[in-house]
Amino acid sequence: MPVTEIVTTAPSPAFYLAGAAYIAASVFYLSSLGPIPAWVKRAARLAVVCAFIAHGIDIGWRGVEHVHPGTSVREALGFLSWIFVGSYLLVARREGLFVLGTFVAPLALVVLAAARLSPSGQAVAGLTSLGRLHIASATIGLAILLLATVVSTIYLMQQRNLKHKNFDGVLFKASASLETLELLSKRLIAIGFPIFTVSMILGAIWAAQLREGFDRVEWPISAITWLTYGSLVVGRQLGGVRGRKAALLTLVGFLSALLVLAIYLVRRAGGM
């Protein structure tokens, strides 16, 4: 899609605060894998909540400056990181699962850094409300699916520990049970997949409005992503797909979604 205008703004002080809080949260969460005093765990939770609030303020600030989360890849990635952390906080409130934070905090930091470093600040031509809605819903869906992917990754690591009787593995004692992790992943996909489906439909309508064809490489890969998650949801419902197979399918689905994002980024960097 051709670019037309420069749409960017300087980060607010809250952005730097969020970055610092994500770093602190990552350090606290990672150190909490070992035997540490209880206050480190409390500090980790507090730091990630502070980071989420500060990050939210930064997104709000950018909104006031007319920089919508769906305006560019940079904004969308920042928004994805925020939704990802928000979803984790909701899950942590309900399920506990402290170990999840050990992955979420550093990952959120990486995504935020990627957002800052991504070649953006330019809006897509013909970015209508529908286009913004497509990008925003795809971002929300992906953030939830990213969390499901993290949960599935922990599942695979814990399953490997149990199968190989690796009792002194870092995650062995810290992680939740396989059943808990699988159920959580299932629930997250049950929420993320419909949002992702809606975003694909909105994207198709938007592309049709712009009179663009469906011959771009993103479309078949997006379809593969959708089919992967779709088969996972249906397979789980029918009872045949579970455990390691389900966790691997979650990973495959997210990797193909990531591929779509990477192609889009490369295209934008090349000004195509």
């Binding site: 004692k173 049970s177 396989l178 455990g243």
Partner: protein, 451 residues
């Protein structure tokens, strides 16, 4: 002489179970034993702790007892052990140990924190210690010193448990099996358990699983009578051996402990069963030797297989971790011992402080009473002021008379001078001050005149 704490006892380190069981105190004996001990001349407070791994008597000497009281008190307790348990004194000497004062406090704290237990970090001992404390309270054999020590010991135990990882990880095979099953299922409530074979270990593990919420326990054995007997023992249901495959397909947790020479659960059988249960997770615990489950079963999707070696390895790792944590716990106990020791020393000076306060109060009041009549008689403010000043000097002289005399004695002059400096925060050159010397002479002369 102040009260002093001590411990006399034996434990799993010093005495085998054959001796421990002879020297143990039963609940119904506690009242008589506690009362008998506390009625002894030197003993003021007593607690008896009697568990399968230790028999200990914690005591505190009375305030009025002489300096060597604690040694005599421990001898009395040793003698009591021998007499009440009808155990020869010479054999008793080999198994009994004793700790006094600070060492006794340290020992009590270590016992409460399960640092002195056979399985470091076990939780039972704290409850047993609380029960011993409860019995001593009930029969009024506990007072301020030992009571405070025991209560602090409970606090120390709580700190050790929350601030260190000493209680982390199961410490026996059955508990470890439950812990591992929880790593797969999280919550065991509603899970079906199948016991294959009728070994004692499987019964123990099944009981642990039941306590953790397992829904149904089925028992199957080649001998239906043995299956029935075990099922009755663990509140389960006996199933015919012929239905093994069907039962496996329904079970979430399988415990095997048959005496078969060949594997009972083969890969082929398990594959069929797992297919029937649509590869839902299945936790298999093989505690039989030789093993009942083919090693290849562990490779089937959804099957988590553990044998006796795995369980014992995990127990060993947990115990190793507990030992590592015990170092941190010991440091914590040591800091608490120092804190308690400070409190004990403060308690020792309480009578001195009380006597000093009373003495100062009596002297001051006597002088006030003597001067009050004169002050009330006159209306002249200048005269009144002079009388009050005289009263102040008089009180000071009276109070200083005895310490001054003591300081002028030939004995421990330097020690007393140093103590006086410390007690009254005097400047170091005060002794060289000529005004002070004059004042001292005045006080001594003044008090001598009055006397």
């Amino acid at each position: 002489m102040p009260s002093e704490l001590f411990v006399v006892g034996l434990n799993w380190r010093t005495a085998p179970v054959s001796v421990r069981e002879k020297l143990a105190f039963h609940d119904e004996e506690l009242e008589a034993c506690l009362t008998a001990l506390v009625s002894q001349e030197l003993l003021e407070e007593v607690v008896i702790l009697s568990t399968c791994n230790r028999v200990e008597i914690y005591g505190c000497t009375s305030k009025s007892s002489p300096a060597s009281a604690v040694s005599q008190a421990t001898s009395q307790v040793r003698a009591f052990f021998g007499q009440s348990r009808s155990y020869p004194a010479e054999k008793l000497a080999d198994v009994l140990y004793e700790h006094q004062e600070r060492d006794a406090v340290r020992h009590i704290f270590q016992v409460a924190a399960a640092l002195d237990s056979m399985v470091v970090g076990e939780s039972q001992i704290l409850g047993q210690l609380k029960a011993a404390y409860g019995a001593a309270s009930q029969y009024n054999t506990i007072g301020v010193m030992l009571g405070r020590c025991m209560e602090r010991a409970f606090g120390v135990a709580k700190r050790v448990r929350t601030e260190t990882g000493i209680s982390r990880g199961a410490a026996n095979v059955s508990s470890v099996a439950v812990e591992l099953a929880k790593r797969v299922f999280g919550d065991l409530s509603g899970k079906n358990v199948l016991v294959v074979g009728a070994g004692k270990m499987s019964a123990l593990a099944a009981r642990h699983l039941r306590a953790d919420g397992a829904a149904q326990i089925c028992v199957t054995n080649r001998s239906p009578a043995k299956a029935e007997a075990l099922a009755e023992e663990i509140d389960g249901i006996a199933r015919p051996w012929e239905e093994l495959e069907h039962e496996i397909s329904k079970a979430d947790v399988i415990i095997t402990s048959t005496g078969a020479r060949e594997p009972v659960l083969t890969k082929k059988l398990m594959k069929r069963a797992m297919k029937m249960r649509r590869y839902k997770s299945c936790f298999v615990m093989d505690i039989a030797v030789p093993r009942d489950v083919e090693v290849a079963v562990g490779k089937i999707e959804g099957v988590y297989l553990f044998d006796m070696d795995d369980l014992e390895r995990l127990v060993a790792e947990n115990l190793k971790e507990r030992s590592r944590e015990a170092e941190a716990a010991s440091a914590l106990v040591e800091s608490e011992v120092i804190g308690f020791d400070t409190w004990m020393r403060q308690q020792q000076v309480v009578p001195t402080i009380r006597a000093l306060r009373e003495h100062f109060h009596d002297v001051a009041m006597a002088e006030v009473d003597r001067s009050l009549a004169g002050i009330q008689k006159t209306q002249d403010p200048a005269q009144q002021e002079e009388m009050v000043r005289r009263l102040g000097r008089s009180i000071a002289n009276k109070l200083l008379h005895t310490p001054m005399n003591a300081l002028k004695q030939d004995g421990e002059v330097e020690l007393l001078a140093k103590a006086t400096h410390q007690l009254f925060s005097l400047s170091t050159n005060a002794d060289e001050d000529s005004d002070t010397s004059a004042a001292v002479s005045e006080v001594v002369v003044g008090t001598q005149k009055k006397a």
